[in-house]
Symmetry: C3
Subunit: 673 residues, 3 copies
């Protein structure tokens, strides 16, 4: 089933209302341009009032009514929140938390992913729904459950963890070796001696190899829940894509792994009001990377206020539209919301909606959403499926995230995302598009690869990077890289381990600076003339290859004049290393230098576009589409003539002149003529 | 039994000492003017050494000895701390905390209020005490237990909660509706599916309607404990008033509800050294409001240091006396302390007492307490029973406190007490007396009613406010009002819900500001000329009645020039709305304007009394009494002549001249001649 | 067995590596001058793979191989970390934490010290090791377990606690009295009513006498574990000293008591990078005091980074050497490390080692360690056993630490260590050596005794101090002294209780200041002319003896002009009291005054040595040794001529001239000629 328009709509919970509400809501949906609603996400209790009884009639009526109104359905299994009677009858469905206490019924996403009862009931209702709605013409998407990612520490999980380990390591001897269990005498002689890492034994923060595998196991456990439902739905609807919504950029679930198993990736975009635009853009780009550049869905965003932040700021006029265009700009083929009608009680009652507590359409938020709806209707399916073809990539890896931040030392302030964002932002500011990739992806199309803080070098990774550089690629890696293997074990021989020959350096020591301390990066040649601030970690580096060059040195302390930033020609390529956490200005300079060397250009060539105008490009069989968003105060004139291209406004169909005047919050979607 | 003097004394724990201590202590009590002691608050273990054995002989001797010395007794049941043997034998008496863990014996107020064993034993000892002491001439007051308010989360409480809900809602369908349980699919089909809201399921902060009822249920559970003892004591002493001590202004117990069932309200006044005087005054006024203006008891205050604060500051010379007069100034007919003799070990050993660890009377604190004792003796019963007749009132409501602060969003900084205090203080500074009222009280006597942050509008409340204004009252309500019903459900139709027609406005949005952000209130006419700072929440307001007037508008942001403060003539009255959290200066100006319009005058007419001189008035059959307290540094001359009244010093009996010279900490109690 | 050299080496865990690693490591050990390694600290699981099976062959080979290489062994029992199979089979070995939850297997030092199974297994393996290695020539030290100090709150501990109490107090009546259980009606009638103080009843912070005894009981429980192994090892190796490593200066274990039972005290020195040198010196001096001045062992220090600090700073070049000399300067006869070879995974993988992850010797850290090794080899046994003879002492007492900081009030900022360090530092800056003593030690050799914040005056303590002063000693005690007895009960009669006659004062009140508040100490005579800042606590003091003199008075508040610092001639001595927490500058002046009066001189007489040059002296049959360490930036010339002594460099054997030029980090060990 081919998507023929940008999906516009989102979560709808008519089961929280009398059924007559449909007659109020549907006209408003139509007025706002809604073409898809997601349901019945949390309706398990209503769909299955008891073990033997299912009630689908109300849902039949809702779907039919929507369909008659021209609104499609993203049909969700309701398995993120089991009914109260189920938790009561089968209490092992409830998870045990990291402190070892069994939870009681309540909240949502409150199930043990390894509970056989959960699996039995969740697949049963998926079967019923597949059977009943698998061919319904309203259904254009399947959605499974909601925001997977719960960890459980129950005895059932402990047993399954041991089986998972047996599958992975086969013998206890191998387990002892891979987990380095001789440390502190943790050696096991029997699989049953493996204990779940938790707050009860502190191994969740004291024994990294153990907890690292528990995170992997929990990703797999959640994935098994998803796949069990997926396989059933696929049987009934082989042509309908299946998705689930990822809760933002959360750490606990390996989304790279998880999204291999969805048909189309989907995520919930809830930025903080203080997030810089580059951070939001980065998360979109990551989402696109999960499926190797394929378009994805923005499954949720808040029309205005979010209820769960400490200060629930209203989105400013124009802000929602810009966020919506930004999603499409990076590869989303949907603009979807939580939710259509605001709940009247419970934790989310102050989460904004298309239809607010006022109950009518005469609100600022409704008007802004309607404008977006109209524009998307005018745009039609032109951009659907369009992709970006980029020459730079950043490696992102959940195992590395878990391991680097889970390490005891060298600094508790070490944050993987901050390091990734720092280098991403340097590309972003220049409107040079970047892909996020995993180590399993094909790197051959890229000229530049950045692997920020590549603490963990998994099997094959070193070799793959070696090949990439040898064949002419430019690699940039940064402080605290090449330290451990996939089990968080340090290979003896000196940092950066497998990356040593590529980078041509040996890192003898890594000094950790307290927050009030800093050092300086001192360079002599452009673009590094002068000095830049740095901190967090400082590597004591030795050049080990005759042709490794120290581009910059440290300016202070006992490693003053030691190399800080190095460059090593390797094969036909070049490998850069930044042995500290530099200020943003330095990352900008370095990425500028690398971009210059490798001919990475802004998405709109030769333009003189000031910082704060975000531009991306997507292309498909209908042409090349340029997205321009203004994050600048006041008015900005963007000179399009220098690009040598001609444009049509893809929404209005009008020709666009040489100069585009952009106010703050303005967005343009241009098609190249 | 009519009270014939201000009670002066407090907690006495002779059971922590050899019995001979009485012979040391009683002469010191007499010297200090003590006329009442409270006992035996924590002596259950001594009074009942085992299930079958009671030991009252020692208490007989203590009471008789006090009585012979002319000291009355406030006789307390000891049921706030069950004996260790009891907890051991009946472990279900111990509460389960919010994380689901059963507590062990220790501390105090450490019982499950729904434990049948607790109820059985606490009523049995109340029966024994009523029988034995109910007619003892020393006993002038009964006191039940101590500082009620414990919450428990045990299975017994869960069962009782379900029964309580059945009584309240009758059917699960009604429960589902009232709790909006369709949200997140929490629908129940059987009462036994209701789960206690706790940290085990997070519903204590994620499912407001549930936790709101749990708070009500816990108030009722505590109240049932109190009433069980009350009814027994009443049987034996129909003429002796029964009280209990409320622990300050605590949130967890609905004191408005609780105090309906005490004969005379009593509370523990433990201000922080940094508390402004208005805050202390406000808490006294609230206490008076719990029983519709009747005098109450200050059951505890610290002679000097309090042990439980992070920094146990000594009260400055004169500070205790001023606090004592302040209590009487607002309606207390007692000045009582914790405690008579300082404990030598345990958590309270550094809590100050009449007789300190020095063991003698030659201390500053003893001297200051003796002075107060002498003055109260001189005052005699003149002021007992005196009340205040006020024209302004502030609504205070525990349900509203729970609900407004329990809400997820719009701001975590939202504090009900701060809003109440802000408007209270504006009256306080002008010495315009204010009552606190509940929605069940008669409002007809008031000209002005302030309902700060009236988030929850309970059944009948909207109508009552409508009538109040229609009949000529002035209503002031403020930001985040009219949002939910008594189950924390938002009525669809727009904020401020039931208050909309009264206020003549529609609040489309409520923006939350981060702490570092602010907006401005801009006015053109006196007293609002210029601009005032505001923050926390800002309402986007539309005027919906032709005669609603925007007194001020916002000065910044996308709602710049939108109404911020409104005024709506309604019936014969007027309704004001402040759609933000203004700086104090603005509240002062607004209350000044309203006071001017409605002829609210300071307690001493026509005086030119500077800020920092607190004045109140109480009256009874003996005349009108004026309390003057100085919170000003240095000397202040108060001109009494302008009041047109003549005064006698009620303590010394001396005439008072036209000018009263007040030093810091000075207090005067004047009777109008 | 007489120690004939400074032990140089530390923890070695060859069981974390293939056995061949020995052939790589031992040559490096030799190169670095290592003469002792500690093992097999955490190898219980390897030594005892199951209940019936022991495996010592690998350890035999390791010890033999080391011995052949000339390296001695500090042989450790592995009982700090029981094997996983043992925890699984005997789960009562696992401790219950203070919140009442049973822990699971993991971490280390994770056993219940009262578990009979733990006792049985730990003594069994000690027996096996004693039997096998008790006469092995490589073994020169026994080391038991690791960093004792775990608290457990399990039912078994509760039963043992009751027995411990029965032994101590004999009757419940005595228990009720000593614990003041009549407070809050906690009276018990049966030993079985005693409940463990924990977070489940809050008595761990609300009922000081109870928790104080629980701390004592836990010290005894840990000690019993140690002694059970000690007695077995002693049987096999009567001549080999037995030690264990104390984890720094931790509060939970009474090290004064514990170290009575070790042959030689040992501790782990892990300073924070921000610790002033005086703090490190103080901890060394305390360690020396634990065994009445006998040399002790520094069992662990980090070669460079420590993994567990928030920011793992590298030790600067020279810093490790200075820390090593500082240890010896204060009485250590060893310089030992954790560890010899860096672990590759787990919580300690970023803890530095002699052999780093690089795996070779070409590192800065290895070079610095080798230099120390060479110097110690050159020094030989000259200084072994040398002691210091000092005239000033500071009392340190764990009970006092527990009780003073466990008190509710008067201030939560009250820290015993800070008070001790303040007065210690005043001596340190002047290079006047100080001993730490307990109240059980002989005080007769001292001229000056400082008892900072002597909150708890245990039986006999008052009398001992009285004798000390009467016979001519100078006593200095400070604010919050003389408050409670050994059960945290205040003796009635006024502070400072038993110290009142000695000090000639009565402290009527103790005011607590908030952090933002301060008062002033005002003096008229040298060295107190002018004013000094003070805070935290301020005593309201009355002079009760005719000859008590107020050296200084307070400068502010209602106790302005009241005595603040007093001096009282008593018998042939003098007793000083400081009734507040003074700024450091005041402590310096006061200690200077006292030193002048009592003829306490710097360790190098008549020298004009600037602050920042630390000097100590130790002497034995080989002469007097002076340790000079520079903590000053840049170069400092130290004039030795003024001392009237001649010196030889004890390491190089060279004569030392009159002036010693010291750079930052420089250390000299001089022997007087």
């Amino acid at each position: 089933m081919k998507q023929d328009k940008i999906y516009y709509g989102g979560d709808y919970n008519p089961d929280q209302w009398p059924e007559e509400i449909l007659e109020q809501d549907i006209p408003m949906f139509q007025k706002a341009g809604i073409n898809l609603v997601t349901l019945p996400v949390f309706s398990w209790a209503k769909l299955q009032p008891s073990e033997e009884v299912y009630c689908f009639d109300w849902l039949d009526r809702v779907i039919d009514r929507l369909w008659r109104a021209g609104i499609s359905v993203c049909l969700s299994t309701p398995t993120a929140a089991q009914p109260a009677w189920m938790s009561r009858k089968y209490p092992d469905m409830l998870p045990v938390d990291i402190s070892g206490l069994r939870r009681t019924h309540g909240k949502r996403v409150n199930f043990c992913p390894n509970s056989p009862d959960y699996r039995r009931f969740s697949t049963a209702i998926a079967e019923k729904m597949g059977e009943r709605y698998g061919k319904h013409p309203a259904v254009v998407l399947w959605h499974v459950a909601n925001e997977y990612g719960t960890y459980c520490y129950c005895p059932q999980c402990e047993r399954k963890f041991r089986e998972w380990l047996k599958d992975r390591y086969h013998t206890v001897e191998e387990l002892n070796a891979r987990w380095n269990l001789s440390f502190w005498g943790h050696t096991v002689y029997d699989w049953d001696e493996v204990v779940i890492p938790s707050e009860r034994n502190d191994d969740y923060r004291f024994y990294q190899p153990v907890y690292l595998d528990y995170r992997r196991f929990m990703t797999d456990s959640n994935l098994d829940c998803f796949r069990a439902e997926y396989n059933i739905l696929k049987k009934y609807s082989p042509d309908i894509p299946i998705t689930t919504n990822i809760s933002g950029f959360i750490q606990q679930l390996d989304q790279m792994k998880f999204c291999k198993h969805v048909d189309i990736a989907g995520w919930d975009n809830y930025p903080w009001p203080t997030d810089p635009p580059a951070r939001v853009a980065m998360k979109h780009d990551l989402m696109r990377g999960l499926k190797q550049g394929k378009p994805y869905l923005m499954v949720e965003q808040a029309p205005s206020q979010q209820n769960w932040q400490p200060y629930n700021v209203q989105k400013r006029p124009g802000e929602l539209r810009r966020l919506s265009y930004q999603a499409m700009a990076h590869g989303a083929d949907s603009v979807m919301y939580f939710q259509m009608r605001q709940s009247v009680a419970g934790v989310e009652k102050f989460h904004s909606a298309l239809i607010s507590h006022a109950g009518h359409e005469n609100t600022r938020v409704f008007r802004e959403m309607s404008q977006i709806g109209r524009e998307l209707a005018a745009l039609g399916g032109q951009t659907v499926g369009a992709v970006s073809k980029n020459q730079a990539a950043i490696l992102f890896d959940w195992d590395n995230w878990w391991a680097a931040e889970g390490s005891n030392g060298p600094s508790r302030d070490l944050k993987y995302l901050e390091q990734v964002e720092k280098y991403y932002t340097a590309f972003y500011k220049r409107n040079i598009p970047v892909d996020f990739v995993s180590m399993e992806d094909d790197l051959s199309g890229y000229r530049v690869l950045v692997t920020p803080m590549l603490y963990m070098v998994k099997p094959g990774c070193g070799e793959k990077l070696r090949e990439f550089v040898k064949k002419g690629g430019t690699l940039l890696t940064t402080v605290f890289s090449g330290i451990v293997d996939e089990n968080d074990r340090v290979p003896v021989g000196g940092y950066p381990g497998e990356l040593s020959d590529i980078l041509g350096i040996w890192v003898e020591e890594t000094d950790a600076l307290r927050p009030e301390q800093s050092n300086r990066i001192v360079g002599k040649e452009a673009p590094f003339v002068g000095s830049f601030s740095c901190g967090l970690l400082c590597d004591v580096i030795h050049l080990t290859a005759p042709d490794t060059e120290a581009l910059c040195v440290f300016g202070e302390d006992y490693y003053k004049d030691f190399p800080c930033v190095t460059c090593h020609p390797f094969g036909e390529g070049t490998a850069y290393y930044v042995g500290t956490n530099p200020e943003e200005r330095f990352a900008d300079a370095l990425i500028g230098k690398i971009a210059g060397e490798r001919g990475l250009r802004p998405v709109l060539e030769a333009s003189e576009i000031p910082e704060g105008i975000e531009i991306t490009c997507r292309e498909n069989e209908n042409g090349r589409f340029y997205y321009l968003l203004s994050f600048r105060k006041g008015e900005t004139a963007v000179n399009l003539a220098r690009s040598g291209k001609n444009f049509i406004n893809a929404v209005t169909g009008e020709k666009v002149g040489d100069s585009l005047l952009m106010k703050e919050y303005d967005c343009f979607l241009l098609r190249e003529r």
